[in-house]
Symmetry: C2
Subunit: 345 residues, 2 copies
């Protein structure tokens, strides 16, 4: 298993694979891998001859005040797990938002007749660290600008210090709005943009995502289709712990009590699933069930909605395939979960 | 010379070329080709072994009320010119904003274990026409939504009729704001998004643009770099008619009188270029010269600015390489022009 740290080397590897007639699947992750991630890798192996797993905690999908700094990390443990799964490459970039290394001038434009630049082959580790720190600080600044009172839409000023800073963002304007988009207005912008970057670097034939992040999967399907990426997007079923809790890297941050309380999410979803099977189609009533159950257990519901699977539009009655999606806080940990529901026959 | 009309066939062609060891250059155009475009193709031929010219009048970069319907078109004439230049492929898509043809369901998401769909190989010409008309109408509706009073930023409602409609947009948030972005708030959004789509379909090694559209070139350089597209972006010098008028497809829409008046743009730029060479560095004074000259000739100045070449930020004094950029209306025709200026030594 190869660990690749640089964008340029990653693309070279992928192109060499394609030239040799291999197909490449990408499984983008933020690391701290659990069985849910591993199931994505199993699916990826079915779909292609080579598998790349990316590990990158993407700062641009966290707003200031969210849990970027406390997001769990364990690169060594992750590499160990991936080795046992016979993954071909782990892509763990340090230069994802950097522009070809620190010696790049901010002026990236090329003119007719100009010569190609010689870029440094590899940064020093110290330079890596410094650059990465300053990238994250820059990006966080830019996010703060974006959170100023205009509904989370993008604002930009032409300040000196912005020169050369990342400023291109992709938005999936309708699907990014509801559910997680309501209280995390820049979340999907960050996710979609970083995934587009990964697609352009890894150039995979297939990319595999978990339906635990149901809205994310839908948003990314739409992005890939609208922008004509030659990447097939696959959604894999959500996996649960034995007690029903949806698998998530964030689960380790729950206290024992919070973890018990958090079971109310999956239990409430299981309950409404049973109700729908018995013929209940009143979405408002079902949503009320979910909220009451989670609140009674001590959780703080961010949202609980029943929406159409493809448009993510709220429904009153369950007449088409829907998904019941929930986000709730237990202590400082925000968890999401969902269940797909068919209308009763 | 091959004319390719479908996204899927275009990508297949490009991939076959790459497999055969060829390199591919893309020259994106809206057709009605003039010597300026042809110089881009000459540059493209220097940079790669195969050249693709795309011809597509992109509806998403025109706001309602702009000149989408009157934008000059002459596909037959264009093909004739391109044949004589020994271009390899003309990509003239009819399905650029369509999702794999009319039989595609709006639900594009793929799940683990699902089978691949069989898509229709080719639409009928009638279906093409209808689909294209409805695509353009849809996109224009979506643009109108975007022009509602919130500064040109994107708004989206989750209406039924939006199901399956293109909704992914790329923005280069700082560079898209000044100059043409001021009065055409969705212009660069449309340009950047369509170019990203073309990059994903054609998968070129190099793409060539004209510096006549100076801001567009800068915006696209930034987009390609920020999103890690493996495409080298080249900017080619602006070409002028014998009398100095910047070459543009829109020039044919000028009356004889307007065309004479429009020479005031290039003359004013030539004049300030001479002033700077003589040591003048006061940007406000130079801008005043431009505006007075064009206004006196009967033009209506949209903007005249002197900005830094890389950041497009306005300057007071010319101390770094700048560009003097102008947009002005003559009758119903909006023209742009620019000149790059070095600070006097």
């Amino acid at each position: 298993m190869e660990v690749i740290k640089e964008k340029k080397k990653m693309r070279e590897w992928s192109r060499a694979q394609r030239k040799a007639g291999e197909s490449v699947a990408l499984v983008p992750t933020m690391g701290f891998l659990h069985a849910g991630h591993l199931s994505l890798i199993t699916e990826a192996k079915q779909r292609s001859t080579k598998v790349v797993v990316s590990i990158y905690v993407n700062p641009t999908q966290f707003a200031p005040g969210e849990d970027l700094s406390t997001y769990p990390r364990d690169l060594e443990g992750d590499l160990h797990k991936l080795k046992s799964l016979d993954v071909d490459v782990v892509f763990n970039p340090y230069d994802l938002y950097a522009h070809n290394g620190p010696e790049e001038t901010p002026d990236v434009a090329k003119e007719a007749g100009s010569k190609k630049r010689n870029l440094p082959e590899r940064w020093s580790t110290a330079a890596e660290q410094e650059e990465k720190k300053s990238q994250v600080a820059d990006l966080q600044d830019s996010l703060e600008e974006n959170l100023k009172p205009n509904g989370g839409m993008a604002v930009a000023n032409m300040h000196d210090e912005n020169k050369g800073r990342h400023e291109t963002w992709i938005r999936v304007e309708r699907l990014e709005k509801p559910l997680c988009g309501q209280n995390r207005p820049i979340f999907f912008r960050g996710v979609v943009t970083v995934v587009a970057k990964l697609f352009n670097i890894v150039e995979p034939d297939v990319a595999v995502f978990g339906k635990k992040d149901y809205q994310q999967w839908r948003v990314l399907c739409r992005m890939a289709q609208d922008l004509d990426f030659a990447v097939e997007i696959i959604g894999c079923p959500l996996l649960r712990e034995e007690d029903g809790l949806a698998m998530s890297s964030r689960n380790v941050r729950l206290s024992d009590t919070e973890r018990q309380q958090a079971l109310s999410i999956s239990r409430s979803l299981k309950e409404i699933e049973a109700l729908v099977k018995m013929g209940e189609v009143d979405a408002n009533l079902l949503v009320k069930c979910i909220i009451e159950k989670i609140t009674a257990a001590g959780g703080k519901v961010d949202y609980a909605k029943i929406v159409e699977q493809d448009t993510l539009r709220e429904v009153d009655k369950i007449k088409v395939p829907v998904v019941a999606a929930v986000a709730a806080h237990f202590g400082s940990v925000r968890l999401i979960d969902n269940v797909e529901l068919q209308p009763p026959s």
